[in-house]
Amino acid sequence: MSPDTSQAAPAHAAPAHAAIDRAILDARERSAFQGLVASQAFWVTIALAVICVIMGMWQPASFATFDNFFNITRNFSFIGIMALGMVAVIATGGIDLSVGSVMGLVAVVCGLMLQGGSSWWMTVLAGLAAGGAVGAINGVLVAYVGLSSFVVTLGMLSIARSVAVVLSGNRMIYDFGPGGPVFKLLGNGRLDLFRIGESTLSLSFPLIVLIVLTAAFAAVLKMTAWGRYILAIGGNENAALLTGVPVKRVKVQCYVVSGLAAALAAVLNVGWSGSAINALGTGYELLAISAAVIGGANLLGGHGSAYGAFIGAALIFVIRNALLMAGVDSNWQGTFVGVFLVAAVYLGKIRAKSG
């Protein structure tokens, strides 16, 4: 808007502005309520709650226990952390298929460092550096060279796994040296909250990391220019470019974030399992993508939330755990996850039409 027009028509514009203001305020009020009800993550949360209530009433002795809460929340933390990074990439309209292999690579890097006598924090830094570097390569090839993210990260899926196999000499590494105990504690540690009778409610360290990162990423998406850039790029890349968004740089950063997230998940997983193996994370890229999409990330870009990644990962692992606790043939797990995935996206489509 040029300064001329705003100065020229104050008399006529005043009532019109008031009307617009009112409309905007109305829209905001509605969107606060509708935004909640219409968000895919909200309905997934409801579905998750329903499953938990049913399972809790039906299998109180096994499902609804502090121990089981601890297990489930730790198990989905690894995928949840990866899914946060995935949301950043998917929101820009891209995809990162390399994250599972990045886990394998980072696991081997960490294993070799620890075996070589490195301290725990050097090892963590090296692991994160490896994941960030892979993400940077992905990002540059997508943003600056202009290749499709699917192709670039599919290639990286193969490359990172292969480098992991070569580096490890295809051996499992579990002699962790002096840095081992603290490194293992990162994935294996727990924070005891309170105690009722025999059982204690505890949070695993990976869960705490996931919660902190989810909150941080949610704040970044909502409150920072960078967060707005990501969604703007995915919404309409050309429009974003014309409004001055540094599209290429932001895209690279998203892939770096995804690589770092996968690396962090690998660090925690290796710490928890106490062994580094190049096969770690095989197929996890699909779990991370599923979690992001169940939580409302749109593969066409422009949509995605941190909480969605969290709740999507939670749903997948609660389904798995519920089937096990209920004694259902575990081979059905994939069917349930698949049904929820498609149903969640279908829900999102209805929402988009009605809204």
Partner: protein, 254 residues
């Protein structure tokens, strides 16, 4: 919105129905049988045996067969075992895909007083206190016998390629150690032994050992590629049944 709510309800309903069919556990003992992965026909035989025992014991025992779909890094299997301990099953029999990771999960079984067996593959030496017994083959001896067959076929030694399962699986590593120790004539400190580089005339081809991760099509490709690359290879020694599970494809190569 109504339709979407119905959809949700239907999905949850299906979950309950499916689970309801399988949950008639009164005072029966529930024993979990955990394979490395559920897409390997080798483990199906263990399931068949478990079902047979279920019948023979007249329903006093329930066999809960559960494992990860894919071999992977073994972390999913460890998560499943941790879940089973929380479920308070009456016993766990596991074939560890990642011996170190599973030991970590099994420490909880000890605390919960749940007896543990390992089968098919064992824990690492340092963790063997975590299980009551190991049911399976003498893996090292399998390797020794495989090596003897190779020696019979090629008394002068030569180039060989070993094909294994998962790099973290103790059973395959012990078999590999048996092969390597026997061919080199020297006992090594631990599994999977020392790579053969000319000891007693035996050398492992570059690129070997091959790891299949129990992926049979991959095992066929590995075998095909290796034989194509090394037409003069003297011995191809799998530590378990991999290419043989795809009989037609296997016959075309072997």
């Amino acid at each position: 919105m109504l339709r979407s709510a119905l959809l949700c309800a239907a999905a949850v309903g299906a979950l309950v129905l499916a689970a309801g069919g399988a949950s008639a556990a009164d005072k029966r003992y529930t024993f979990a049988l955990v394979p490395k992965n559920t897409n390997n026909p080798f483990f199906d035989q263990a399931l068949d045996g478990c079902r047979k025992a279920e019948k023979e014991l007249g329903g006093s025992v329930q066999c809960l067969y559960i494992g990860p779909g894919e071999h992977g890094g073994g972390d999913e299997q460890a998560q499943i075992v941790a879940d089973l301990i929380t479920k308070r099953v009456d016993g766990i029999a596991v074939s560890p895909a990642n011996a170190a990771a599973i030991a970590n999960a099994l420490s909880g079984a000890k605390a919960a007083n749940i007896p543990v067996l390992t089968w098919d593959s064992d824990l690492l030496e340092r963790d063997k206190g975590l299980r009551v017994a190991y049911v399976g083959t003498h893996n090292y001896d399998i390797g020794v016998n495989l090596a003897k067959l190779a020696q019979q076929a090629k008394p002068q030694g030569g180039t060989l390629c070993i094909q294994s399962g998962g790099a973290a699986a103790a059973n395959h590593n012990e078999r590999m150690q048996g092969i390597r120790d026997t061919l080199s004539g020297k006992k090594s400190a631990g599994a999977p032994g020392e790579r053969l580089a000319g000891q007693n005339g035996w050398t492992e081809a570059s690129g070997c050992p091959l790891y299949t991760d129990d992926d049979f099509p991959r095992s066929i490709q590995q075998m095909e590629d290796t034989l194509a690359k090394l037409p003069n290879l003297d011995a191809f020694v799998p530590t378990g049944g991999f290419p043989e599970f795809l009989p037609d494809a296997y016959r075309n190569i072997a």
